[in-house]
Amino acid sequence: MINAKELLMEICEDERVLDDNQELIESGILDSYAYIMLFSKLDDLGLEIQPTRLDKSLLKTPAGIQELINRATKK
């Protein structure tokens, strides 16, 4: 299973992403570059996630992104 926090750490290089409940969007941690990298890397890892079809609230925290990954993995 892909670890969301590890992936976010690699992309954002910000230790705050190690906190499950860290707010990612308003804080600027998940900016447009990080957003692009996140979906690109998930695609490279074989997960097909379409940004226009997902529950956007899941992008707000590392825990939410892990949930996103878990759901996509089960498909």
Binding site: D14, I29, S32, Y33, Q50, T52
Partner: protein, 452 residues
């Protein structure tokens, strides 16, 4: 060479929409009627008119009013901090500030409050608009673009894109960035319809807007397209109207063009190059699958202005070259871009910078602009700003500061910086260091900080 005012006026009887955004729209007939009226108030003056706002219909009406009045305009987006706006007002000595936003701006008026102004400063007589760009000193630079520059560029743009005249064009850049010059004037001078929406980060909304309005031609930075292409629904089957994407403002890579061609096999991609100082773009080329990285940015026998390479640097001259900066005229008609480039097999290539200027999310940024504004923050004694890159793309901006404050508060510094810099220039990470590292030659050792 065309005259953009005359080209736009050709459509004054047209009931077709010329500009559509999320809240409103306006036909050519209505735009020109209003712009003529406001132009009558503006025509006797020569000081620049600051047009403050985001993407409202009144922004476009204000711009075209100035074009018809042959009055210099300065587009300023609402994302610019008020201190930067104050600096622009001071530098331009603008006597009119048209406020097309809900923000309260001192000494400004609403568009419909315009009345006859009788100042007669001749300095800006031939200047069409002023675009402010990041300045290495920490103060923005106002680039003065002449009507002749805009006529020359628009003529070139129309000829290069003649098959797309009259298209539904998507504007993605703020009106205070010169990328928008390509979409505004190409559309309005060919009777097309310009479309624009506010929030460029909402992919859902973007898809619906592009689809609903049958967008045929998109003017964008590669960063914008990287967002759209993330979703596999962005493809020819779902967007059959889309025929051409015009890129400028950032390096375009095969990685992105390959993905676009996979989704849209018949699409045309144009890669354009040019600094603000040479009116939007000086060169363009249709990029197809035969090219590898680095992609060419132009064809030497099809340019808007003269382009030469001197000591690896791209040097521009001719009809596209600006008048100069405010208080600093460009007297020899030559502009040294600072871009490193070369010519090969009749094609122009641009491969980097000689200095500390970067492109980040399509925005042009002088790193020392950020450094100098950091030093305005409470307790910051010295600063160095670097970028973290991934395969030649800037990932984010990182700052190192030397501070005389015992308690270092990164968020507090970021908050203070927002008074001086737009959001996209605020470093993602600000780290405290005891001293700035230097090399054996006593220069700032940026490499050491990049490895941090």
């Amino acid at each position: 060479m065309i005259d953009i005012a005359k080209e736009i006026l050709k459509f004054e009887d047209s009931d077709n929409n010329c500009y559509v955004n999320e809240e409103n729209k306006i036909t050519y007939k209505e735009l020109i009627r209003k712009a003529r009226e406001y132009a009558s108030y503006l025509k006797d003056g020569n000081t620049p008119v600051i047009i403050y706002g985001h993407k409202s219909v009144d922004m476009l009406v204000s711009i075209i009013s100035c074009v018809l009045a042959k009055r210099c305009y300065v587009p300023v987006d609402t994302f610019m901090p008020l201190k930067r706006l104050s600096q622009i007002i001071e530098e331009t000595k603008a006597s009119i500030i048209i406020n097309n936003s809900e923000n309260k701006i001192d000494n400004s008026i609403k568009l419909d409050e315009l009345s006859i102004n009788s100042d007669i400063d001749k300095l800006y007589k031939d200047i069409c608009y002023i675009i402010f760009t990041s300045g290495s000193s920490g103060k923005q630079k106002g680039a003065l673009l002449k009507r002749k520059n805009l006529n020359n560029f628009t003529d070139y743009m129309i000829k290069f894109n003649s098959k797309y005249k009259g298209s539904n064009v998507l504007n993605t850049a703020s009106f205070s960035f010169d990328l928008s010059v390509a979409d505004i004037y190409f559309t309005l001078c060919t009777g097309g319809t310009l479309y624009s929406y506010n929030d460029s980060n909402d992919l859902d909304y973007a898809f619906k807007f592009i689809k609903k309005n049958n967008i045929e031609y998109i003017v964008a930075t590669p960063t914008y397209m990287k967002m759209l292409i993330l979703d596999k629904d962005f493809c020819e089957k779902n967007f059959p109207s889309l025929k051409c994407i015009y890129f400028c403002g950032e390096v375009l890579s095969c990685n992105l063009t390959d993905k676009i061609f996979d989704r849209f096999p018949k699409i045309e991609i144009i890669n354009a190059y040019g600094p603000t100082e040479a009116c939007c773009a000086v060169s363009m080329i249709n990029v197809n699958k035969k090219y590898n990285d680095p992609l060419p940015v132009g064809i030497m026998n099809n340019l808007a202005t003269k382009v030469e390479i001197v000591d690896d640097e791209i040097i521009l001259s001719g009809d596209s070259i600006f008048h100069g900066y405010i208080n600093k005229e460009c007297t020899d008609g030559v502009y040294k871009t600072g871009d490193i480039g070369y010519i090969k097999d009749g094609l122009l290539y641009c491969i980097g910078r000689k200095d500390l200027q970067i492109k980040y999310k399509g925005y042009r940024i002088e790193l020392s602009d950020i450094e100098n504004n950091l030093k305005k923050c409470d307790g910051v004694v010295d600063s160095v700003v670097i970028v973290k890159k991934s395969e030649d793309t800037v990932k984010y901006i990182k700052a190192f500061v030397v501070t005389n404050k015992k308690d270092f508060d990164e968020e507090q510094i970021k908050k203070e910086l927002k008074d001086y810099l737009p959001q996209y220039m605020i470093p993602k990470i600000i780290k405290k260091i005891d001293e700035i590292p230097v090399t054996d030659n006593n220069k700032i050792d940026r490499r050491a900080l990049e490895d941090d």
